[in-house]
Each structure stands twice: as C-alpha cells, then as structure tokens.
Symmetry: C2
Subunit: 496 residues, 2 copies
C-alpha cells in the first residue's frame, strides 16, 4: 500500500517556486467558486505517521487559501465535554457547512488506530470502527460532501532520520517527545494497522491519497494539486444535476391494508381518579430515578412523534415536571434554520446530544426524514431509503454510549383528530396550534400511515425500540409514556 | 423490526383468486421485457424462519413465471467441491446472467446466522460476515443487478402452531424434524440475530422486505407484487441512461513523475550458467513443495501481469514444468465471452478458483479492470475506482481460505519492448504474437505506468502483495519469479 510513497519523491526549489504562485491563485479561485456558486462542504483529513509533516501541511493550507472559508480542527485528546458524549459528537460539531472547507488534523481514524496499536482493542474491534467510519463517510458523501483523505507516509528509515533531525535542531527539539520514540519502536506494528485502515476505507467515494512526507516541497505541492483538482472536478459536476434514482425494490403498502397503526386499540381509557393516582406514582418514580447516584452515568433521549394534535406537548410537560430544570432540555423540531440546511440532516440533532446525567426530549425528531420529507417529497427516494440505516447507526452510537433512547409514536384516529382540530379552532388560546398545513397533512393520512409502518419496521431495534401509544385518551397515553420511560431508565441503571 | 409481520395479515380466497391471474400475466410480461430488452440480472433471496413458507414461495415463483428464465438454487449444506473453496464460490457460480432471475433458498446469510445462533461464532464475527455480505451486494448492484431480499417471518406462537399443524398431517409430517424443534427452542436467540442481520444489511440499494409468513395467500400475493413492482421500476429506469460520475478526489500522477516502475533496476542480469543452476534448484524445490503432504491443505493462485512482450508466457512455462499436469491449470485471460459479459466482471475469475492442493496460473487477470479497462475507458471512472476495494475483498476471501495469492508485474523498458516487437515481426513463428493492438497500447505507455502505480499502491496488501519483476533480462525474471513463488508456498505451509 505504501510502495509509491517510499520512492524518495522530490521537487527542486526552482520548480516549486515557479509552481506555487499559480497553484495558490487557482486554489483561491476554486475556493471562491465553492463559497459563492456551488455550495457543498469539503472535508479534508490529514493523517499519517509522526514527523511526516501533518502539522506543516495544515499550516500551509491556511496560508495558501482564504482563511475565511477554512476551518482547522486539531483533534487531540477529547475534552471532558466530549468524553461525556458519543465519540462522533466532536466531529459532528466540527463539520464544515456548505461552501466551506474543514481541515482535520486527526480524525475518526486516530483513536481506533492508536487503541489497536497499543493492544487496547482486538482486530475485530478495529474492523468495526472502520466499518463505522465508512458508513459515516458514505452518509457525508451522499449528503453532498467532498471528502479528501490524505495519508502522509514515511518509511522506517526516513521516520527515524526525521525524528533525529528535529531533535538536533534547538528550534524544533521540543517537537520530539518520548512518546514519539516509543511509537517509533512500534513502527512495524503501526504499519500493519495503517495498511489495514487504508485498504478497508479506500472507497470509490472517498479513497485515501497516500503522499510521501519526506520532501516538504513534494508533499505540499502534491496536496495542493490534489485539492485543486478535486475541487475543480466537483465544481464542474455540481453544474450538472445529479441523478438520484435507486435501483431497489420499492416499499409497498401491505396488500391487505393492515397497517400496524390500525391494530392499536384506541378505545383504551383511564378515568380521572385512576389517572391522578398513577400520575403521582410514576412522576414520583421518575423523580427518584433521575436523582439517583447511578443516573449520573447514563443519558436519556426521548423522541416524540405522532399525528398532528395527538398530544405530544402535554405528554412532554408531564415528564418535564418530574425533572429538575437544570437536568433536561426540550428541543422542538421545526423547519431547519439556514445554518442547519448547510449541514447533513443529522447535524441538527447531534448538536443537541446531552452529556451524562441529562435528559433531552425531542418534540419531533430525525424521523422527519422518513415521515414528512418522504411523504411531501422534500427529499428523494434514495435519500429517505438510506436514512433508515443512517438513523439506526446514529442511535446505535448513542446506545453504545450508555444512552437510553426512548421513542414514542402517539397515535390518534382520524375522527379524533378532526374533533381536536375543530376544538382548537374554537378555543382562542389554542388557535395558534392549528394551521393550513395541518389540514393539508390530514389529506395524506394514508401515505403517512404507510410511512409510519415502514419507520417502525425498519428502525424499531432491540436497543432503541419504538413504543406505540394509543392516544385517543390523553390520560391513558400520558401514563403509558411515563411508565415506559421509568422502565427503560430502571433497566439501563441495572445494567451499569 | 418484525412489528408489521406479526399483525396477522390475511387475504381471503375470493380476492386471491381474482388477483392472481392478473399478477401472473403481468409478471410474465415483465420477465419477457427483462429477457428481451433490458438485460440485467435479478437476484431474489428467500430467507426467514422455519415453517414460514420459504419452500412454497420458491415453488410458486417457478409456477407463476416462465421457468426458462428462472434458476432456483437451494443452498443447503455445501458439497465437498464447495467446501474446498472459499464460502462465496458456490454463490458466484450460481449467479444468474443478465436477463434471468436467480432465486436463492438460503443465501450468504444462512451460515453466519446459524453459526452465531449455535454459539460457534462471536458477535463480532457475525458483524464481519454481514459487512462482507453488504459489500458483495453493493458490488452486485453497482454491476447492475436488481437484488430483492425477502424475509419470511412468524411470531413464536405462529411458528409453534405451524410446526404442530405440519406434524399432525400425515402428508406433511416428514417435513418437521427434530432439528426444527431444537431450533424452535432457540426462537428468541434466533430472533435477536435475525433482527441484527436485517438491521445491518437493509441498505438503500438492497433493503430486506419482511413478509408475514402465516397466511399463504397473503405471503404469495405480497411477494409476487413486490417482485412485479421492483421489475417494473427497474425496467423503466433502464431506459434512461445511468449517470456514473463520482465525487471523489481524482487520482493524479506523481507531480515529480517518479513512478514506482521507474525505480526498478532493469539492468539486472543473470548469465546463462548461473541461470541454469538456479533454474534447476528452484524448479526442484517447487516440485518438492507441491508434492508435500501439507500442500493438500493449501491452494495457490498466481497472477501474471506485465507489459506486452514482457515474457509472461515463458515464465509461466518454467513454473508449469515443475508441477504435475493434473495439479495445475493455466487460465489465459482475453476479451470476455458473451456468457462472461452477462455477469459481474469478477465472475469469470471466480469460476476458475481451484480446490485445495491445486495451482491456478492466470495469464492476465482481474487487474484488467484497473489497467486496460481504465486506460482505454472501457469502464467508467466510478467502476474502476470501486474495483480496488472489490479486488481486495476478493483476494481477502481467497487468503482466508488458505490460498497463496502471488501477483507478478513483469516490467520491461520501452526500448526493450520495441526491440522485442521488431524481433517478433521478423521471426515467422512468433509473428502471431504481435498485433496492431500492441502498437496502440505502446502509445499509451505513460497512462499504463500511472495505472500500474495506482494498482500496486491500492492492491498490494500484506496478505496478497505484488512482486515487481525486472524483466529486461528473461533469465533474471524467471528466477526471481520461481524463487518468490517457492518462498510464499513455504511460508504458507509453515503456518498450517
């Protein structure tokens, strides 16, 4: 894998001095086009071995390009904030928006490689990390991102020489630490792992570009030219419209029209007295659970989806009132903001992922992708079809990080919805809750039912199951929700 | 994941009798279009739990459709022939060609699921199998195949009832074995695994379609309609031209023009006397190695690529003459046959994979995809870019099955090639060896050099490395090849 990067590539000074001004001008032009015309994000990963010039490369890119449209992220040891969230959270918050370039020194590959080299993980775990990285990159490129992955390589001899040279020079001596030499001793071990990483994650959409790091001029000019060509190619393509047809079997509605939602017994009721007793019981239980010592080690994410007017807000308030105000956050999801539209669709949910000991309640969620966006054709079939897998990946990451993911679908009948719509129109302070859009959505009742059925079938997992809530009776719904939430938290705390 | 498939879906007899004739006619029409106009292969996997109607479904499809264009494969226990080759070999040889439908009862999922449920493998191993399955399916869909994956599900209660009913009826009693009841005892364990399989391998390109298996009419009609809609959708799409632009950074030639091939010292020579002694030594060694008891447990696949007139044939003969005739096969790769063009490009290599204790020598190989097909633009950039990963996957499967994969690139200088071309034109019995095409290829020397450099960088792996052979001197080349081959076989036998 590293054959061409051990040949001793070199560029002489005269050539370099001649080429660089042209390259810089062209890079600035391309960057300008990217920002102004073709708005897609560019993600540049700079990985490689110690001493191969990763830091210099990042500095140079900042020097050569317009720093207003470039963001550099040194991904060293994660902060406390970051440690308390899933591993990928720090990368999500650093993703560049459309029109900008994000340069990552260290990436989602850094820790899996280090952990494997230090013997902290097994080969199969490394493979799993790499598959996750591939799925992440596939999602990003499917969302339109251009990913350029550089791997700066040095042969064993060259790395040793480089470290010695840095040590010799009083100006650079500080850069070589004991850790660098310790890692150098494991050069061969690292090499095997690096090879495996590059082999497994060089996909057609985001291949690794291996660059020999020994000669600074060769390295810099190569990297600059690759970025330039990649930008130019994508800018030219962005002018054409992309075809998004997919070749899979279509998802059909059940031929006997028997949808999972229709099997719910919506007549279930809880009379007032019983309700009040149960409410007190489960709110009390929730209060105790969330104040328990062990709760500090878990995170709770509750998702509320449901028909319009199904009573999501009321249910959420019954949960919130049992929690400490500092402990929870309610995130209502409406149309995405401009900032959010400049990012992959999951970005706006990642940004709200809480740290440990906290509860975040999403009033509507990432499931909009496979519900409203699917039904209203806001995204293509290919986009919502891949979303099931992307969402499962996303939730699996949360669950791996001791997060309790509780998902509620609040279901009411078409008749009950009509009754509530009319009631809302009559009552002044509730009138704001009913819009033209609600009436329009209602006309697509069947299409939404199919979308909900497919959603449950494809995203109700052992780790993050859906709970369908019969919500014609608000009291019944609220208790079922509180009870489910308590059970899930209790189960998670027992597993600690 | 199985929510909608436990609802008790049913279709009454009257509806069924009315729908089936229409469906059958439409299916036959679609099948005819597939065979005549839009030629792509259709792969239908029928998986699911025991008693859910997998066998009946396959029989029914054969009854409903035109059996001339359908091939059914019951993938039970692998045969001796199959056990001696990598797991996927049996599927490759069963793939339907373009225009036909292959129905698989049991698939690449069957054994990974069983092995995991029986505790023979760990969770991480199952994950790895699933990732391999995903990569295989991605490759097949990238190559144009339509994959439809059915999962027939039964709830625990329904499965038990079904097994009991079969047992009660004297006509079907034989179908329920002790093994079925043993598996039933592990229903919950299987369910967890099935869920994981369906979640991980439901991609946008080839999602699982979960079908409740209890009611035969519902099951049959659903499956028939899904197949019909999938065929219609793809047939409609096939009329449009598919866009194959990829969004990755382009592979550029090294900016200092230093290609790995140019670093070879082509002046290396072996004088006649030394050559003869070495030839005797290494041919003798190879003869002994391949007759060794342990050789029965490994397979050798040797790949020869190189410049035109670099001496591949002569080198191959020097290997062959050390082997027993029954033991080896030489596969010359020319333009694909019609049968081969109707299959994914790797198919014609899979068909030649030998069993254990055998040697297969490929005179040119699957690397044509990233060499001649890339340079001559016989395939799109997207196609050859994904080929690196597909080839690495392919070779990794061989290596996992104790196959020694030895790959030689025979390199001669441009001048030496000219000399040999001219010589061939002069000598009568060698004249057939030089064609117009050889002269044309020569004009693209630089493009081929870049392609070879990228090929080595991207497919020389620890498990299946490239050996670059300096071949200006035929004797030197032949000995280097024989020596490398002996070393690799020796190393593999030591590891047994």
């Amino acid at each position: 894998m590293f054959e061409s990067a051990e040949l001793g590539h070199k560029i002489d000074k005269a050539t370099y001095d001649k080429e660089v001004p042209k390259l810089r001008e062209a890079l600035l032009d391309a960057q300008f086009d990217l920002a102004e015309k073709a708005r897609f994000p560019v993600i540049i990963l700079v990985g490689g071995v110690d001493g191969a010039g990763r830091g210099e490369t990042v500095n140079l890119l900042n020097e050569w390009m317009d720093p207003r449209f470039i963001q550099t992220h040194g991904m060293g040891e994660p902060s406390d904030e970051e440690m308390e969230r899933p591993m990928m959270w720090r990368f999500w918050r650093a993703l560049p928006p459309k029109g900008k370039i994000g340069v990552f020194l260290g990436s989602w590959y850094t820790w899996p490689i280090l952990n494997r080299a230090m013997g902290r993980t097994k080969a199969a775990e490394l493979d799993q990390s790499l598959e996750r990285a591939k799925r992440l990159e596939k999602m990003l490129t499917d969302e339109g991102a251009l990913i350029i992955k550089f791997w700066l390589h040095l042969s064993k001899e060259k790395q040793e020489a480089r470290l010695r040279a840095l040590e010799k020079n009083p100006k650079t001596r500080w850069r070589v630490t004991k850790r660098d030499w310790e890692r150098f001793k494991r050069y061969d071990k690292f090499l095997t792992i690096h090879e495996s990483v590059i082999r497994h994650t060089s996909t057609a959409e985001s291949p690794w570009i291996v660059v020999e790091g020994a000669d600074a001029r060769y390295r810099s000019l190569t990297i600059g030219k690759v970025i330039l060509e990649a930008l130019r190619k994508r800018l030219a393509e962005a002018e054409k419209k992309k075809e998004t047809a997919i070749r899979a079997a279509p998802l059909l509605p059940p031929i006997d029209k028997l949808n999972i939602l229709e099997t719910l017994d919506l007549t279930q009721k809880l009379e007032k007295k019983k309700f009040e007793a149960e409410l007190e019981k489960y709110q009390g239980k929730l209060a105790l659970l969330t104040r328990h010592e062990k709760f500090k080690d878990i995170t709770v994410i509750a998702v509320f989806e449901g028909n319009d007017a199904a009573g999501k807000g009321g249910s959420i308030r019954r949960i919130a009132s049992a929690l400490e105000a500092r402990q929870y956050q309610i995130v209502p999801i409406a149309a995405p903001t401009e900032e959010e539209r400049a990012q992959p669709y999951l970005w706006r949910f990642w940004r709200h992922i809480p740290r440990k000991g906290r509860v975040t309640i999403f009033d509507r969620s990432w499931y909009g992708r496979v519900l409203v966006e699917r039904v209203e054709k806001f995204c293509s079939e290919a986009d919502w079809m891949r979303a099931y897998g992307e969402i499962n990946d996303f939730e699996a990451q949360l669950v791996r990080h001791q997060t309790v993911v509780v998902k509620f679908w609040l279901s009411i009948s078409k008749e009950e919805q009509l009754r509530r719509f009319k009631e809302r129109e009559k009552i002044g302070f509730k009138r704001f809750k009913i819009t033209e859009e609600d009436w329009r959505n209602r006309e697509k009742w069947d299409a939404y039912e199919q979308a909900v059925g497919d959603m449950v079938d494809r995203t109700s997992t052992e780790a993050a199951p859906w709970t369908l809530v019969e919500a014609n009776d608000k009291n019944f719904a609220r208790i079922k929700i509180l009870k489910t939430l308590c059970q899930r938290i209790e189960a998670a705390m027992k597993q600690l």
